[in-house]
């Protein structure tokens, strides 16, 4: 039951630049650690994060094991119309999660 926290302003002026903050629940196991018996702990990370607005990709990131547990990513975008942001996190072991947030542009 991975949780995500998204911070998108509910309203914005047309043409303004807004900041989007995202926090996703994930251990980001590096793949560089070993158990007491010497077995490698397999890598289990989020490898890709994408944000789309009304279906168009506006931001994307490739993540590596050096991204801290519970990845926190913030970025900016210009809003010209009301609509829906869709967020997608994809990773090892079939990890795939999405979240959404709406904005009203005045």
């Amino acid at each position: 039951m991975p949780s995500a926290l998204i911070n998108v302003p509910a309203k914005a002026k047309r043409g303004s630049v807004i900041e989007i903050k995202t926090l996703m629940s994930h251990i980001m196991e590096t793949g560089y650690r070993h158990t007491a018996s010497g077995d490698a702990v397999p890598r289990d990370i989020i490898t890709s994060f994408t944000c789309r607005f009304n279906g168009t990709e506006i931001f994307r990131a490739d993540l590596y094991p050096a991204i801290a547990a519970n990845p926190f990513i913030t970025f900016f975008t210009t809003v010209n119309e009301s609509g829906k942001f869709e967020f997608e996190w994809i990773g090892d072991k079939g990890f795939s999660e999405t979240a959404q947030a709406s904005i009203t542009v005045e």
């Binding site: 506006i58 094991p65 991204i67 900016f76």
Partner: protein, 154 residues
């Protein structure tokens, strides 16, 4: 999920004696050659100039497991002149890449933030690719202090 994490940490800390902690067990540090190769993978044969990029990262961090970092690039962010992507690298983690961030003119502001892991005190480099396919960079030194009282066993 956290429990498997703890089991492995115990091993790491056991080796470290409990008073000092290795953040990540690593086969070997990323060598400058690996770092150079990772950068070449992104920039190809292009020249990387210093400037335009600002890398905000604390010079001294309390814990290398979670280091806040912000990269911003000076750019008008118009359809003619914008930042295509930002790439962040490190010198001494087991792997030289930290993250690639792809933006475009509609970002409005060429700035990203995240939190990273640093296995040791080292240099962090951010490289921006602009719309004219020039590359600009900034590098910062980070000192990672080791906590005095860390966990040996759960």
């Amino acid at each position: 999920m956290a429990n498997s994490n703890h089991t492995t940490r115990r091993t790491v800390l056991g080796l470290a004696g409990g008073a000092a902690v290795l953040v990540i067990v690593r086969p070997a540090d990323a060598t400058p050659a690996m770092l150079q190769a990772a950068i070449r993978n992104v920039v190809g044969e292009a020249n990387v100039r210093t400037g335009k990029v600002k890398l905000d990262i604390p010079p001294l961090v309390e814990n290398g497991n979670t280091v806040p970092m912000t990269v911003s690039v000076t750019s008008p962010m118009t359809t003619d002149e914008y930042v295509k992507s930002i790439h962040v690298f490190n010198e001494k983690n087991p792997q030289p890449n930290i993250g690639n961030f792809y933006l475009g003119p509609r970002a409005g502001r060429a700035q990203i933030s995240t939190r990273i892991r640093l296995a040791d005190s080292q240099k962090v480099t951010a490289i921006a690719r602009l719309s004219d396919d020039t590359f600009w960079s900034a590098t910062a030194d980070v000192v990672v202090t080791l906590a005095a009282c860390t966990e040996e066993a759960i």
